[in-house]
């Protein structure tokens, strides 16, 4: 186990094959400047700005949180950052490359560098695919990149029993399924992990464990993380930088402790006041 872990870190320290050209390895992993994404409302057909002039940067190994209520545009932001959703206008650079300038082929080649952990772990697993065959599929995409760890050790790393390899998603609990999703993200040795509300679909009792696992594996892999959540306590426990979003705009950003102890924006203040006190103290 120690061996595989060490390899995992070695991989995280910059000596990785298949690093895309154009990336010196020093610049920010993700750099968003003045991003605007517009959606058309279904009913009225009028345009509205889901993301309105957002800028943020994530350095190597850094964890940046984006916090806001549902509908504040944070998921749209995350989808744009991964090139999965609408990319709108403004600067959007992933590993030093302009996402919009990439052909779909190049974008696909870049995808392994950015792995997403979604909110609904069961929903993001194909119900017809066992844990093992899901991993096999990913290994088939980039054999040399994923050969650093075998399936059993990988499951051990996300603290799942190796017997679970032959399980199908419906045979997994929510927490187990999310661990499988994390394992699938880790096997690609990504430079950036985008976690979109990774714990809000889980039982409260499992949330803390999955969060801890996410933090540990991110550190192990040396990856950066964009952490999207509506839960301030969770963001505070895991992120170094935080951006507070409200109606598509970032209303406040800064180091997590500063934002939480001395919020400048009234909306941030309201959010913090609305946090359940007991949980807040427990996290501290």
């Amino acid at each position: 186990m120690a061996n595989t872990l060490e390899q995992g870190t070695a991989a995280g320290s910059g000596r990785r094959p298949g690093t895309p050209p154009g990336d010196g390895g020093t610049g920010p992993v993700l750099e968003i400047t003045d991003l605007v994404i517009e959606h058309r409302r279904e009913r009225s057909r009028e345009m509205f700005r889901a993301v309105d002039g957002v800028s943020l940067a994530i350095g190597a190994g850094e964890t940046v949180g984006v916090v806001g209520e549902s509908g504040s545009g944070k998921t749209t932001l995350a989808m744009a950052a991964t090139g999965l959703g609408a990319t709108g206008s403004g600067g959007l650079r992933l590993l030093g490359r302009d996402l919009r300038a990439l052909r779909s082929r190049e974008l696909r080649a870049l995808r392994p560098e950015v792995q997403v952990v979604f909110q609904d772990p069961h929903g993001s697993l194909d119900p017809r695919q066992s844990v093992r065959s899901g991993l096999r599929e990913l290994r088939g995409l980039q054999p040399e990149r994923t050969s650093w760890i075998d399936d059993e050790a990988l499951l051990e790393q996300v603290r799942l029993a190796p017997e679970l390899l032959d399980r199908y998603p419906h045979q997994l609990s929510g927490g187990q399924a999310q661990r499988v999703c994390i394992a699938r993200a880790l096997v690609m040795r990504p430079r950036l992990i985008v976690a979109d509300e990774p714990t809000s679909g889980l039982d409260v009792s499992v949330q803390a464990d999955v969060l801890e696992l996410l933090r540990a594996s991110q550190r192990t892999a040396g990856a950066s993380m964009l952490f999207i959540s509506h839960d301030l306590a969770v963001v505070r426990s895991i992120c170094q930088q935080v951006h507070v979003m409200f109606r598509g705009k970032v209303v406040e950003s800064g180091p997590v402790d500063q934002v939480f102890t001395d919020p400048q924006d009234p909306y941030t203040r309201r959010l913090i006041e609305a946090m359940p006190g007991a949980r807040w103290r427990a996290r501290r």
């Binding site: 999965l84 779909s104 929903g123 697993l125 995409l141 045979q171 690609m188 499992v206 464990d209 801890e212």
Partner: protein, 339 residues
């Protein structure tokens, strides 16, 4: 370095305690699962047998309700004595329950009676005609799947575009065109006007083209519409986005994860349509004088050859029940949740 790595991992328990209690599939006793499976199979087979019994009983009842066959066979001028003799020969003088039990015994032993017009074993005649119908239905369904599925997938992956509208219009057209009319039009065009293909009868692969085309249109349209509907639903599932996010090629995402999960209802329709066509390709076989089961059924009905009609209905019922069982098995093969 290793130490630094293990530190965060050592911080929490090796397996999350709350995860242990979660789903029922966690640790079922293996023998319990086997017994459960055996019970399910038994129930399924039992259900199929009951369905079959009901179907053959209805076939029997309908046969008795269609009037006196002796008047058809002997004509209106026959004497009552002649009729009585024929009734005795056909076993129609027996009490109904005896006839029914005799009929059931025949089905179990594979004896579906003797035709009134051909004086041959019905089982033998069905067996003689079946290869032709199988050829026709097989070719037709193959064509329907090969065109219908890609058409539906194309429409679903390009929802709202002209591709989608075109495919949907084509499918609607396919479902509303009457089979006999289409058959005649194809004959007019390809056989009469262009003289490219034979107008009817069987014998060579060329003979199969027009009938198979005619037969394929309706199921093709049905399959295309169903594929489009289920695919566009599946493509909205989060695991599709997740698969794309993991870096899979569009082709893999659409076919393996998309169609793989949409295939179940499509496959069901394919199998059940095959069942319907196997016993009911009457219009197509009639238009093309195709010597299959459909034509045999038509002849039997026209002559009021009730043992033959009955035999064909029973054959159709058995086919249908068997295909239904096949659907169940295929479901379990395709979807691990149904195992």
């Amino acid at each position: 370095m290793t130490q630094e790595l293990q530190a965060p991992l050592a911080g929490s328990p090796p397996v999350a305690p709350s995860d242990r209690s979660a789903p029922a599939a966690q640790s079922p006793a293996p023998s319990g699962r086997g017994a459960e499976r055996a019970r399910r199979i038994l129930l399924r087979v039992g259900g199929a047998l009951v369905t079959l019994l009901i179907a053959v009983t209805i076939a029997f009842a309908l046969g008795r309700m269609s009037g006196d066959p002796t008047s058809t066979i002997l004509g209106p001028m026959a004497s009552p004595e002649q009729r009585e003799a024929l009734r005795a020969e056909l076993g129609l003088d027996q009490p109904l329950i005896v006839q029914y039990l005799e009929y059931l015994r025949g089905i179990v032993t594979g004896d579906l009676g003797t035709s009134l017009q051909f004086y041959q074993s019905n089982t033998q005649m069905i067996a003689d005609r079946l290869p032709y119908t199988l050829q026709l239905v097989g070719a037709g369904m193959l064509l329907a799947v090969l065109v219908g599925v890609p058409l539906g997938v194309l429409a679903a992956t390009r929802e709202g575009t002209w591709w989608d509208r075109g495919a949907s219009a084509l499918a609607l057209l396919g479902q509303s065109v009457p089979v006999f009319w289409l058959g005649m039009m194809l004959v007019l065009l390809f056989a009469v006007k262009l003289d490219l293909l034979p107008a009817g009868q069987s014998g060579s692969p060329q003979h199969l083209v027009l009938p198979a085309l005619t037969m394929a249109l309706y199921p093709m349209a049905h399959i295309a519409r169903l594929t489009r509907a289920t695919m566009s639903e599946v493509l909205r599932e989060p695991f599709i986005d997740a698969a794309r996010a993991r870096g899979l090629a569009t082709r893999q995402v659409v076919w393996r994860h998309g169609f793989g999960n949409a295939a179940l209802p499509v496959l069901t329709i394919v199998v059940l349509q095959t069942g319907t066509l196997l016993s009911g390709a009457v219009a197509v076989e009639y238009v093309y004088s195709w010597p299959g089961l459909g034509q045999l059924a038509l002849q039997a009905i026209q002559f009021r050859d009730f043992p033959l009609v009955q035999a064909i209905v029973v054959f159709g019922a058995i086919t249908f029940v068997l295909l239904n069982q096949l659907v169940d098995v295929l479901h379990a093969l395709i979807d691990p949740r149904l195992r």
